[in-house]
């Protein structure tokens, strides 16, 4: 339950950050992606602020033996740059550019009751389920593997 409480507060902080940064406004997002037109570079500062924070802070967090309310850190194990990674990212980018929503802002928009976010969200969940269905049928091993980083 402590982990759920921590996740609730982290989710809240994440959502406040997204709304403050206006990542939740699809027109701002499309303006940011419109490099060859009406380019609005403001959202680049969101990525700069977020990655500069994680690049410094993750370093110190991952020096710990374990997280505060869980047994171990759960980090992605895959290292190889493969076709699913590139194809998946390319498909995601098309959807992002068409609607101006990526998963976080779509959830925040739905929370605010914005109609287009409320419609986008179930379609997004269906897309994730569709991929898992296809993957399970065709290779049966596409579930993400995770590595457990035990105390070192």
């Amino acid at each position: 339950m402590k982990a759920a409480l921590a996740a609730l507060l982290c989710g809240a902080l994440f959502g406040i950050g997204l709304a403050l940064a206006r990542m939740t406004d699809p027109l701002v997002v499309i303006g940011f992606l419109d490099v060859f037109g009406d380019f609005d570079p403001t959202l680049a500062f969101v990525l700069i602020g977020a990655t500069m924070t994680t690049a410094v802070a993750f370093h110190f967090v991952l020096r710990r033996a374990r997280p505060i309310v869980a047994a171990q850190f759960e980090l992605p194990a895959t290292r190889t740059i493969d076709l699913p990674l590139i194809l998946g990212a390319a498909i995601f980018g098309v959807g992002w550019g068409l609607a101006g929503y990526c998963p976080g802002p779509a959830l925040v928009g739905a929370g605010a009751g914005v109609s287009t976010a409320l419609l986008f969200l179930p379609a997004m969940i269906a897309g994730g389920l569709a991929h898992r269905f296809v993957a399970a049928r065709y290779n049966g091993k596409s579930r993400p593997t995770r590595i457990s980083v035990f105390r070192s």
């Binding site: 982990a3 921590a6 996740a7 609730l8 982290c10 989710g11 809240a12 902080l13 994440f14 959502g15 950050g17 997204l18 709304a19 403050l20 699809p26 027109l27 992606l33 060859f36 037109g37 403001t42 500062f45 969101v46 602020g49 977020a50 990655t51 994680t54 802070a57 993750f58 967090v61 991952l62 997280p67 869980a70 047994a71 895959t78 190889t80 699913p84 990212a89 390319a90 498909i91 995601f92 098309v94 959807g95 068409l98 609607a99 990526c102 998963p103 976080g104 925040v108 928009g109 739905a110 929370g111 605010a112 419609l119 986008f120 379609a123 994730g128 569709a130 991929h131 596409s142 993400p144």
Partner: protein, 138 residues
Amino acid sequence: MSSWFVALLGGVLIGLSATALLLFTGRIAGVSGIVNGLTRRSSGADWAWRAAFVAGLAGAGGATMHLLHQATASPARLPVLLLAGVLVGFGTSLGSGCTSGHGVCGLGRFSRRSLVAVLTFMASAIVTVLLTHHLFGT
């Protein structure tokens, strides 16, 4: 405050949230992965932290949008909007992450996979906007 400063501040809050989630729960704050895990059969504890993160995100984020009088809808027409949703869900599941998992967290861990993913989805999104807004019109 200038808009770029507010954007930078929002980004720092997002980075602090991802840091706190890793510090407390040992998890990566990737929204697509967290949501996908909710539709997977798993233990109650695993489901609980994911549901709690999503509730906090949608609740506090939605409330902030109201406070800031933000209510902008997507300009995409309904069929395009639904297609976009399916593509985002499918692509982030296939590619193991979205803007938060690969962008905020992956780049913070200096992951080469995430760097490739970010460059790929940025490029494909930019090309998509170029095609839909300039070559074919909206």
